[in-house]
Structures are given as C-alpha cells and as structure tokens.
Symmetry: C2
Subunit: 427 residues, 2 copies
C-alpha cells in the first residue's frame, strides 16, 4: 500500500486542502482591505493575545514539560519559554506593525504608450504565504502580523516542540482578528507536527504562492528538496570580515569583536576572519589576543597558525561551517582580490565586510562580493530589518530571487500591471 493511501494521510490532505482553499478566498478579501481595516484587526489581535495570557501560558507549560522530559537543551528551553512579559512583547510587536506604512497599492511606474494605452505597475499582496519554522513561538505572532499587514493570508507550520503554544497563540490571533473583520482563513496554523503534513503543504501549488522556511539547515534542505511552490530561503550566515593592509587597527578590532562576540548565536555574526598577509605579523597576534580574551576558540590556516601557534589548524569543513558560537576560523590572503575570491567561494552570501582606509580597495570589495549585504568599515551585525530602517522583517533572505537580505513589508508584496485603453487592438 502506498503511503498516501493510508486513511490518516487522506485526512491530513483533506484538511490541508480545505485550509488552502479558505486561505485563497481570504487572500482576495485581504487584498481589498483598507489599511485602516487591517490595522484594526492587528490591534484586536494584540488585545486578544494579552487577554488570553493565562491560556497561552498553560499551553506553553505543556510544551515546556515535554521539552524537559525530552531533555531539551537549556538554550532551546529558553527559546520556547513564554511569560507575561514575552506575551506583551508579542502584542507590542503587532502594534508596531500597525505603525508601518501599507505596502499595498503603491504605484511603482506609469507608462503611456504611443497607442494611448496607459500601463500602471501597482504593488499587490503575494496571496497565500506558507511559513515553516522551528521552536520559537513568537514567530507565530510576528509572521501573522507582517503577512496580514502586507495583505497576505498565512498558513503557519511551527515545530513540534512548541505545538501547544502555537495552537494557543494562533487561536487568540484568529479570535481577535475575526472579531474585527479579519477573513476567516487569513491566519491558520497546521495543527499537526507530522512530517507528512509538511510534505502535503509543500505541494499545494494551487493554494500557496510562496513558502518561507525559517530554521536550521536540515529544515531548509527538506523544504527546498520537496517544495514545488516557490521558496525564499532564510539560510545560514557564514559571514566574513576581511582586514586590509591599509587599516585602522583599533577600528578593525572593535568591528571584529562586535561582529563575533556581541551575539554569536545569530546569522549576521561573523564566522570567518581574513587578514591581509602584509599585516599578519602585526595584526594577527592582536586579533588573537582580543578574541581569546573574549573566550573565542581560534582556528586558522597554515599561515595564521604559524603566527598564532595557539590556534587549531582549520580543516576544509571549517570554511563553510556556521558555528553560531564562540569559534572563528582565520585565513590569510595576499590582497583584496584573493579575499573576494575566497569569500565568494565560501560565504553563504548573507553579510560580508571589509575594513580598509583605502576607498579604491573598498570599492573593489563592495562591487566584487556577491552577498546580500556588503560592508565597508562597519559590523555585519547590522543586517536586520530594524537596523536597515524597514521597521520589521519576516527574516533575512539568502536567495537572490524576489528578495535579498532583510525582508520587510514591501518584499511581502508582488505587483500587477493595469492596462487601461479605449478600444486598442494589436495590429
């Protein structure tokens, strides 16, 4: 018997298709909603989150107990844990989305053709967005708020660790929203955690227009390999800083410390450091001392290890690994061209920077590096929707199609052409 023929699968499929159809219908209603109406829904959702705090905390308690029984790590448990404060932060997040500009209906261009046809390019919602994510329950609220403001229906599929919390959060969002006129299918959460549900979801092309996976490498890989729906990946951050020979040592050290140590568990922190060979003897030991003092484990290529003997010789896999912790791999390059070559080869195309006092060298680097964000004399930690002035982000795309880098509200829209005539036909 083929797997899809077992009754349980058929039930999953039937329920998901029903959710898909509801989302599709809701997406048309959302696309037509005024910004005022959308904002009222967001406010009502925020209020309902706060007034449902007890139910949400009770549901979260179940997830926490299950996590402890399954020997979840302290860091994971901390990401999973909700509190009064965290719930009111989520509600505040929704209220912040209210203050953001409506991305829908922007006139992107207008052309009058010689035959008199007027062609307007207008921003419109994408339609139905599927979000697949792990552990942190706040994604349920953040993603729903941003998708709604951008006029999209959303189908959420969170991780099994947080299933009870997510169901309680989604229920509050739905109840609050629909009381204020939110279409019934606008915010839906898949109530199962089986892999099968994800497999069905990833092939629902007739209902879902875009999948955004947020999570670790294996989640992203599963989604990319199985989805027939367009995917915008929020993949790992293997970020670099290259220190050029014409440089301010204090600035370089400050940037390296910030980019590596300020919050090592996030995707815009650096995992690799490249040093120009001509400053290796002078700068290598200084950087090593600073990083070692901060508790960072040093790995290095042969040249770096010859100057900093305490560094561990790097293996090939070190160049592509995202440590998300206090580890860094240091390499030595001859010039900016070699740095560019190395970074384009090994970077995950997220955020890479140069420290140099020479504008020509900086320009080469800025032009040559093929990453979403390329920095000159600043920490890579700024790759973030808030820091870029977007107000909020649904994540950071490491893809090149549609959206690159932080994805804010405009990136949750597409466009259509309105063609207005008075009887024109084609010759």
């Amino acid at each position: 018997m083929r797997k899809s023929e077992n009754p349980e699968s058929e039930e999953i499929k039937a329920v998901l298709f029903e959710m898909g159809e509801k989302a599709r219908i809701a997406s048309y209603e959302l696309a037509a909603m005024t910004v005022h109406a959308k904002n009222e829904c967001l406010m009502a959702m925020a209020a309902m989150l706060e007034s449902s705090t007890d139910e949400i905390l009770a549901a979260n308690e179940k997830d926490m107990r299950a996590g402890m029984e399954n020997a979840m790590s302290v860091a994971m448990l901390d990401r999973l844990r909700l509190s009064h404060e965290r719930i009111s932060e989520m509600a505040q997040g929704l209220r912040n989305v209210v203050s953001l500009e409506d991305p829908v209906g922007r006139r992107l261009s207008t052309v009058i053709r010689p035959n008199g046809l007027k062609i307007e390019k207008i921003s419109v919602p994408i339609g139905v967005i599927g979000i697949i994510y792990e552990s942190r329950p706040n994604v349920t609220v953040d993603a729903a708020g941003l998708c709604l403001k951008a006029g999209n229906a959303v189908i959420l599929r969170g991780g099994s660790e947080a299933i009870n919390s997510n169901i309680a959060l989604a229920r509050a969002l739905h109840a609050g929203g629909t009381k204020s006129g939110l279409p019934d299918g606008a915010v839906q959460l898949i109530p199962w955690t089986s892999r099968e549900a994800v497999q069905v979801m990833l092939k629902m092309n007739q209902y879902i227009n875009l999948i955004i996976p947020r999570g670790g490498e294996s989640l992203i890989k599963t989604v990319v390999e199985n989805s027939t729906i367009p995917v915008i990946k929020h993949y790992k951050g293997v970020c670099h800083i290259y220190v050029d020979c014409e440089y301010d040592a204090d600035m370089a050290l400050r940037i390296i410390e910030n980019a590596k140590c300020q919050r090592p568990g996030v995707c815009n922190s650096i995992e690799k450091l490249l040093i120009n060979e001509s400053i290796l003897n002078e700068f290598g030991p200084k950087a090593a001392q600073l990083l070692t003092e901060k508790g960072v484990e040093l790995r290095g290529d042969e040249k770096f290890c010859s100057v900093v003997p305490s560094a561990i010789p790097a293996s090939d896999s070190d160049w592509s690994e995202e440590y998300l912790g206090l580890v860094i791999t240091v390499g030595v390059v001859n010039d900016v061209e070699e740095a560019i070559y190395h970074i384009n080869k090994w970077s995950s195309s997220h955020s890479d920077g140069i420290v140099t006092a020479n504008p020509q060298t900086a320009e080469k680097f800025l032009n040559g590096i093929d990453s979403a964000a390329v920095y000159w004399n600043a920490s890579t930690r700024f790759t973030d929707g808030g820091e870029f002035g977007m107000g909020a982000e649904i994540g950071i795309s490491t893809d090149k199609i549609h959206a690159r880098g932080p994805m804010g509200l405009p990136e949750l829209n597409t466009y259509k052409y309105l063609v207005i005539g008075n009887g024109q036909i084609r010759d």
Copy 2:
C-alpha cells in the same frame, strides 16, 4: 545498481558540474563588465552569427530531416526551420539588445541611518541562469543576448528536435563573444538531449541561481517538480474577456476578435469569454456570428447555448484549457463580482480584461482580478515586453515571485545592499 551510478550518468554529471563552475566564474566577470564591453560582445556575436550562416543552415538541415523522418507536424517544422532571413533577424535581435539600457548598477534607494551608516540598494545581475526550452532555435540567441546584457551567465538546454541547430548557434555566439572579451563560461549550451541532463541541471543549486522554463505544460511540470533551484514559470495563458452590461458593442466585438483571432497560437490570446446576463440576448448572437465567421469553434455554458444553439456544451475541463487555436468557451455571469470570482478561479493569472463603459465597474475588476496584466477596454494581446515598452523580453512570467508578466532586462537582475560606515558597531 542505482541509475546515477552508471558511468554515462557520472559523465553527464561531471561535464555539467564543470559547465556550472565555469558559468559561476564567468558570472563574476560579467557582473564587473562595463556596458560598453557587453555591447561589443553582443555586436561581435551578431556578426559571427551572420558569417556562420552556412554552418548554421547545414546543422538546421539535419534537424529538419530528422523532424520529417519523425513525422513532425507542419507547424512544428515551420518553427524549427532557419533561413538566411531568420538568421539575420536573430542577429538584428542582438543588435537591438545593444540599444537597451544597462539594468546593472542602478541605485534603487539610499538611506542614511541615525548612526551614520549609509545603506545603498543597488541592482546587480542574478548570476547564472538556466534556460530550458523547446523547438524554436531562436530562443538560443534571444536568451543568450538578454542574459548577457543583464550581466548573467547562461546555461541553455534546448529541445532535442533542434539540437544540431542549437549547437551551431551556440558555437557562433561563443566564438563571436569570446573574440570580443566575453568570459569563456558566459554562454554555454548543454550538448545532450537526454532527460537525465535536465535532472542533473535542476539540482545544481551551487552553480545555477534561477531556472526559466519556456515550453508546454509537461515541460513546465517536470521542471517545477524536480528543480531545487528557484524557478520562474512561463506557464500557459488561459485569458478571459468579460463584457459588462454597460458597454460599447462595437468595441467589445473588435477587442474579442483581436484577442481571439489575430494570433490564436500565443499565450496572450483569449480562450474564454464571459458575458453579462442582462446583455446575453442582444450581444450573445452578435459575438457568436462574428466568431463563427472567423472560423472559431464555440463552446458554451447552458445559458449561452440556450441563446446560441450552435455552440457545443462546455465540459468542466474547458474552463482551464488553453486551446492555442480557433476555439473559445463562453460563459454567462450575473455581474462583475461573479466575473471576478470566475476568472480568479479558472484563469492562469496571465492576462484578463473587461469591456465596460462604467469606471466603477472597471475599478472593481482591475482591483479584484489577480493576474499579471488586467485590461480595461483593450485587447489582451498587448501583454508583451515590446508592447509594454520594455524593448525585449525573455518571456512572460505567470508566477508572482520576483517577476510577473513580461520579463525584461530589469527582471533579470536582483539587488544587493552596500553598507558604508566609519567604524559603527551594534549595541
């Protein structure tokens, strides 16, 4: 033994990976080329096409003979056939691309943040684009020209019917281009026609950034189901015209005739007609007479057939079928809302139009229809890069991600952020 372990597969994989690596390296060189240098390559490619006419025609002759032996249809043979004139049209196509504006390096926005960081959003090439197409050999030249002007390397995979023609064309493009400084891996054609080569290509995420399939439904389906690389579909055109109750009958007839009959084999011609019920008795027979005179087979829903008894009762599949010929299915709706609902359900989201004299009704339709191009009082046949003023197009996207409708040079670019500081770190 697994299929991928047979030596032939391994050879295909090895050659394709080598092509991918060459393309990736070429893409960095292309991204850095001036518009002048790219234009010189395009001119040299055009000249080499013309001076290679004899070789190209000899190769095409082989494909034509094989086509005739395989009992290819007259229409297919005509699409495959090259001539002196068609080759010089292709060369002229490349020269036209020279005159188009360079899409690379546009400053899309500049922001100065409160901390002094300057964030510039700049258009850059996508990287490596894979084009998978059928029969018409001119796609080889058009796609290569547009990808090159937009700064992308291209890997072409044409249909087996045209393999000899495509190899000869690609050889001329490569020879002409490289003489003028085109990077070696900028324009490459996969020399095999096996499905296996496509399967390998569709999973070369490390080398290819975007796949554009151009062809029939089964080609698109295969690509979408198997690609782990982002795909922008150029899918079928199931286009509609809705004739409202407040209308100019002459304009409606002129637009319907043009949209259905002027070139019925292309994606922007209409396949369906919707008529407002209150004008059915008056307009139905007129439209039927006109279309019948033009040789169009009429199919219709129950209401339409009751007024036009010569129409064939439509089956369910008629509503989603792209005939690409002289057939149309006609339905009757109560009002613009029902027309919108019907079109959003059955359209392929390509091009749909309304004929109405009422601006409020038109606005409802323009806002409500979820298609790449939405028309008011004009023929849908204008959905085309040239007609939209883009100069040239690589195709017409029926997807909503990255590009929608005609894809010109700007849609063959993405962007990156340049972040320029003087030592900023994050708190």
